[in-house]
């Protein structure tokens, strides 16, 4: 079906996301995109660049400045049979829409005993590392993971960004789609003809024998660097890109940890009641007799995201990951 397309080389994640939206809008007239400043401006990150020009103001809609309204009307559009993809401008601005997301978007399918489907995608540029002011660097994934009825996914590369966004739009369930904004400008080869993996499958991005590093979104690249550094020290670290946070691909995690017997989970969000807590809790439940060391977590502190001059201290960096790896081996 997409034979005519070339395999693009070296695309940024922004470009890949833009392509995914363009192709989805092209293929399905029910797909509509809405958000603040996504039209003429193309979004503050240019993810929607050119889409309004191409598909018109009815399908690529500059919304009023009201996130509850953006998500609430998207729910209404979905009830009418549309497949809305909405953009929240930054992570910190999803909270005005939280009521709509948690009490309505997540629950309406169940409330209706399956009669109603809400294929809504909520795109959120998230995470830190871009030197921004308050509320522009947060990682709210744990809130959404804890909310039954939502799917939560986050790509780590441009290739995954393209395909995972296409899959999220194709999903009949609501998807919180978390885009690691510090990776927006990273380039990689995007294969536009072959769907690489299902949306909710984790992937071994670097095989290893001695310890599993589990991460997603912005932290995968960091873990790959850590594995490189580990190799230099003679340790073989396996890196898992979880890709999906709800559901969690526990099978792949388990399969990895049963071999490596050690695990460190890395994310930018605060560790306290974060995604890593769930992963650690599950792994010790299922791999109790395989573990040589406790599952360790490296992530943000129990503190508001700091001013940007401190963000490198707050975010998990190579040093902190390697330190946790050392601790796991010290056990």
């Amino acid at each position: 079906m997409r034979e005519s397309r070339q395999v693009f080389e070296k695309m940024t994640m922004v470009g890949a996301l833009n392509g995914a939206l363009r192709d989805a809008l092209d293929e399905d007239p029910k797909v509509v995109v809405q958000g603040e400043d996504i039209g003429r401006l193309g979004g503050v990150f240019r993810v929607t660049d050119g889409l309004q020009h191409r598909f018109g103001k009815d399908r690529v809609v500059d919304s009023p400045l009201a996130e509850s309204g953006i998500v609430g009307t998207a729910i209404g559009l979905a009830l009418r049979g549309f497949r809305p993809v909405v953009e929240i401008q930054f992570d910190g601005f999803v909270f005005p829409a939280f009521n709509q997301i948690v009490t309505q978007l997540a629950k309406m399918h169940a409330r209706s005993l399956g009669k109603v489907r809400l294929p809504v995608v909520v795109r959120i540029p998230y995470g830190g590392g871009i030197g921004a002011i308050e509320h522009h660097s947060e990682s709210p994934e744990a809130y959404f993971m804890h909310t039954a009825g939502l799917r939560v996914a986050s790509p780590a590369t441009a290739d995954d960004a393209y395909w995972m966004l296409r899959q999220a739009i194709a999903s009949d369930d609501p998807v919180i789609f978390l885009e690691p904004k510090r990776r927006y400008w990273d380039k990689c080869e995007v294969n536009l003809t072959t769907e690489p993996a299902p949306l909710h499958k984790a992937r071994v991005v670097r095989p290893g024998r001695d310890l599993t590093l589990a991460a997603y979104g912005p932290s995968v690249k960091l873990c790959l660097a850590a594995a490189e550094a580990g190799a230099a020290e003679g340790r073989s670290l396996e890196v898992l890109d979880l890709r999906s946070l709800s559901p969690l691909d526990t099978d792949t995690v388990e399969w990895s940890v049963r071999r490596t017997r050690r695990m460190v989970v890395v994310h930018e969000a605060p560790v306290f009641v974060g995604a890593g807590a769930e992963i650690a809790a599950r792994v010790q439940e299922r791999c109790f007799y395989h573990l040589e060391a406790p599952v360790l977590r490296v992530g943000g502190f129990h503190a508001p995201y700091p001013p940007s001059r401190l963000e490198e201290e707050y975010l998990p960096g190579l040093d902190r990951v390697m330190h946790a790896v050392d601790q796991a081996f010290a056990s």
């Binding site: 009023p64 799917r151 969690l248």
Partner: protein
């Protein structure tokens, strides 16, 4: 602003220049029947709650005209977004009253098919559905459909930020939606004066769309203003806000004790404005009805009550597996895993026999 009224409490009929309404005797009898059956159904639900068949019930007593009048103004292709008390509106949409009882009995959270009658699920959280209504209307408009959305909210709900955002999205998109506020004077124990110092129908002016104040106990006036507002919406002229002046005759819900916060005398004042009495007076005065009509109707009402009573008692408790069904459309690993564990756990009891 003047209160639109087409029928006085004494059953006197008026014409209104902006809201003309032609009705046949048959239509008038139909409206009366709607109100009476709704009231009877509602009373039955209150009884069923007292008998322990329902966990809770939110009675519409006193609001029959607002609901039947506005609901009867809709066309089949229109779409309705209720709150949780719109039993009369549901009736006009052809929703089986039994369906309304499921969530109050605790066997589901709604669960009817909204698309079967273009009547959305009851929604408990106050505020969000107004935005769903606007989104739905935006979708209708994009499809070029010749239909409109009717969204209900209460005087209390008018304070929620989502309502304001609904007005914003409706106007900038010129969405074909009518916002129908049943100002029944109370939000649980809170009088309308604690929600706003200006009449609610004035709210829309600040967004540049019309607001109408209607006698909510006058079924004809409610029908007329809602019909013209829906027509306006279908013509692509955007939203209208309607405030229906009415009264919640009963408690907020069966769990509530209104004596703690309001005088019975208030209720008595409103009894004189009863929506059914005034239409009955009109019907009788103009010879549109005879004794047989009322007798037949009373009988029909009892049959409805019986059917509801029996239907509720026969409603089975849901299958526990239903907890896991419909959380997602497609498989979700955690749900499947928890369901497997739950079922394995349940199976241990079956093996061991009943406890």
């Amino acid at each position: 602003m003047e209160l639109v009224q087409l029928l006085t409490p004494e059953g006197e009929r008026f014409e209104h220049p902006d809201h003309p309404l032609e009705t046949t005797p048959e239509e008038l009898r139909g409206l009366y029947r709607d109100m009476l059956l709704t009231r009877r159904f509602d009373a039955e639900a209150v009884t069923l709650q007292r008998q322990g068949e329902l966990g809770l019930w939110a009675s519409l007593l006193g609001q029959e005209a607002a609901q039947i009048g506005s609901g009867r103004a809709t066309c089949p292709d229109d779409y309705v977004f209720p709150c949780y008390r719109e039993h009369g509106v549901a009736w006009t949409r052809g929703v089986d009253p039994l369906n309304l009882l499921g969530m109050y009995r605790g066997v589901n959270h709604g669960g009817w098919d909204p698309d079967a009658n273009n009547f959305h699920l009851y929604t408990i959280v106050i505020g969000p559905p107004l935005l769903h209504a606007v989104g739905y209307a935006m979708g209708m408009a994009r499809e070029g459909a010749d239909s409109a959305v009717l969204a209900y909210f209460g005087d209390g709900a008018s304070s929620q930020g989502d309502v304001a955002e609904a007005f914003t999205f409706a106007t900038v998109n010129a969405a074909p939606v009518v916002f129908f506020c049943q100002n029944n004077q109370w939000a649980i124990s809170t009088p309308t004066s604690h929600q706003t110092r200006a009449p609610i129908h004035r709210r829309s002016a600040g967004w540049g769309f019309p607001g109408i104040h209607v006698d909510g106990n006058d079924v004809l006036a409610c029908l007329a203003v809602t019909r013209s507002a829906l027509e306006r919406a279908r013509r692509g002229e955007g939203p209208t806000l309607i405030e229906a002046h009415t009264y919640r005759m009963g408690p907020h819900a069966t769990s509530d004790e209104p004596r703690r916060y309001r005088d019975d005398s208030e209720r008595q004042t409103w009894e004189a404005k009863d929506p059914l009495l005034r239409l009955r007076a009109h019907l009788e005065k103009h010879g549109h009805t005879d004794a047989a009509y009322f007798e037949d109707l009373a009988q029909e009402a009892e049959q409805l009550a019986l059917r509801v009573r029996e239907g509720v008692r026969a409603m089975p408790d849901p299958d526990p597996a239903a907890m896991f069904r419909h959380v997602y459309v497609d498989e979700h690993a955690q749900v499947s895993e928890e369901q497997r564990e739950y079922e394995a756990f349940q199976a241990t009891f079956v093996q061991e026999g009943p406890q």
